[in-house]
Symmetry: C2
Subunit: 379 residues, 2 copies
């Protein structure tokens, strides 16, 4: 699956044409074309636009003014790219938009991105011809939080057939994310399907709850009004998620065939989810033998909640149990220095951890790669 093609479906109708009943395409112009040298060509028909820019991970975050051809198609070909999932967008006369010819779209916080995948063994984010797990959107009744809350659950291939019990990875999103972030941007189902099929990871259940305790669910799925992603609500990193986390474990253990001990339970997360993972593992140290901190936040102002007290003692109890403790961060991450300090503090105490430093910054490109690695080290 090295070459992935998208199709640009062109409706040959005038600007502001009356909405059609049928959505059948009549002609196609290809966009997101992966060329032989692993460059990608983006094409967009915009004859009336004064300027069309390509931006995002296809251009290393540097906006590129696309070239206009005589027939009003704007085009740009990237340099040869490595394997990865690349998010990109267009700016048409200053207005951010998606590639109209690419129906592959992912949301991150409030923003939508077109994407293209260049798959590889190192970055197995495509859908391979392997057995696929089931992905569920479930609702748990938050007895402590008093809310119905939506959660995404990955069940490995074969779960539905057998009686086997599985280990559980709790996988936590960042600030502004929600219960869909890891499964969509994180390609969790594809990474797990592929790593399990390759024998690199054990079959496991992955539970992806919503870490914003004021929200019931992602946009379009919330009963308490439609949420506005990225607008910080109450109960963000205030201890409430960590405090009520045991009810998620209880719900999962009651509803799935899980192995219910620390040896078969991991917690990992990115950014705010790393913060949550740090504090959840510290507070419930006897319940987790595996911890993954991806570009993690560790501290913030006003940490008055009980779960944030007695940190040293809590971490000591956890670390005495010798968990697999893996810290990942990119060299350009704005949290890099905070991670240097955290590692120094752990080292001073003589605690064991594994440190993995990557290129790049605070971005999904890294978090997908960290997950791909992390799942090979647990259970």
């Amino acid at each position: 699956m090295k070459k992935i093609f998208f199709s640009f479906v062109m409706m040959l109708c005038a600007v502001c044409a009356v909405a059609q009943q049928s959505l059948q395409p009549t002609q196609e112009l290809r966009t997101a074309v992966v060329n032989d040298d692993h460059s990608v060509t983006i094409n967009v028909l915009a004859p009336k636009a004064n300027e069309v820019c390509l931006n995002g991970e296809l251009t290393d975050g540097k906006p590129q003014r696309m070239d206009r051809t005589a027939d009003g198609v704007w085009t740009w070909t990237t340099k040869p790219l490595g394997s990865d999932l690349f998010l990109y967008w267009l700016e048409v006369d200053g207005v951010r938009t998606l590639d109209p010819g690419n129906s592959h779209v992912i949301r991150d916080v409030s923003y939508l991105f077109s994407y293209v995948i260049l798959d590889s063994e190192e970055h197995p984010y495509g859908v391979h011809a392997v057995d696929h797990g089931t992905v569920e959107s479930v609702w748990y009744e938050g007895s402590k939080s008093g809310m119905k809350r939506r959660m995404t659950v990955y069940l490995p291939a074969g779960y539905e057939k057998g009686k086997t019990k599985y280990p559980v990875l709790y996988l936590l999103h960042g600030s502004g994310g929600d219960e869909q972030a890891w499964i969509e941007l994180g390609r969790t189902a594809q990474i797990l399907d592929n790593q399990i099929a390759a024998g690199k990871a054990k079959p496991m259940i992955v539970v992806m709850p919503n870490g914003n305790m004021s929200d019931e669910a992602a946009p379009g799925y919330a009963a308490n009004g439609l949420v506005r992603p990225g607008i910080p609500g109450a109960h963000r990193m205030d201890g409430y998620f960590e405090e009520t986390f045991p009810e998620i474990i209880e719900w999962v253990d009651a509803h799935y065939r899980t192995q219910k001990d620390a040896k078969h339970r991991a917690v990992a997360g990115l950014s705010m989810g790393g913060y949550h993972s740090y504090w959840i593992s510290a507070n419930y140290g006897k319940q987790f033998d595996y911890v993954g901190l991806f570009s993690a936040v560790y501290y913030r102002n006003e940490m008055t909640a009980a779960v944030y007290q007695n940190e040293a003692e809590k971490v000591a109890l956890l670390m005495a149990r010798k968990p697999v403790y893996r810290i990942y961060i990119g060299k350009d991450d704005f949290l890099y220095q905070a991670n240097v300090e955290k590692r120094a503090a752990l080292k001073e105490k003589g605690y064991d951890y594994v440190y993995v430093e990557s290129e790049g910054g605070h971005q999904w490109k890294n978090w997908r790669a960290y997950l791909t690695d992390f799942v090979t080290h647990i259970f």
Copy 2:
């Protein structure tokens, strides 16, 4: 949930700015604001654009040039609207785009739409404070088709707790749709949650397979390359879906707690899915006591497959069993006349059916409403 607000998160950065590491919004301008009179106001910041048009269901399919304010915000307020889910999009200097301030997006075939829901008892498409069912993305092994194929399954609230067996509605999408169409555009989970909670529909499992037999899955989830929605492939309405449909029933009956008889099995679909429902019910007449044909196609050219032969005898056997047979279509549907002829043919034979005629054409607005009604008449 009468009033639903969206937030327009404005990044105060220059055109084609370097990609930010953090996606935290810094300021907000609201769009998709539902006003007291049930009109909706759309706002978009586009100071460099020469023209911004609003199009779609907020403007009755008639494009509206938005008004530009001095600060570069383009704005438009609709007339007062009834309750519904409204799809819309913008055209910025002739390029189709989404509302950048609205993170609520649905794909239809190759096209993406922003949306706003004005909820009501008649159109219960919002998420209410009721128990929610589980939505699963599962893969079945197509033994006849020789492919792994993705399918969406709705399990009613309480399914995971008990031992109860449930009736099953097979719900089929139209040409160009996929296994996500009914759950996203159709708001199936919300309609079922709400109709079941209101006591208007029985708790049921809803199975939404992919009716394009050349495709494994929706865009981003297919192993056989990323599909190009709306580009007709092989095995579209050629009998292959109907022929291999029993393997879907077998898989569902093997994997879920289903009631495995005709009294507890329904099939319904829209457009091509109506065609599939017509032919599936005709070919497997003893297996379905409930049939829903929503804006259905009945015939096409080159119907050489075995499942399309001996129509009269097959339909006679089905109809002799007196199924609940409900035909829905809009007055402006391009398939209206074909449905007049089909009804005349059924009437001539003396077969019982219920006919529901609505306003409007071949559109999701109608299909959501038909589903909302249909589920109250089955099981």
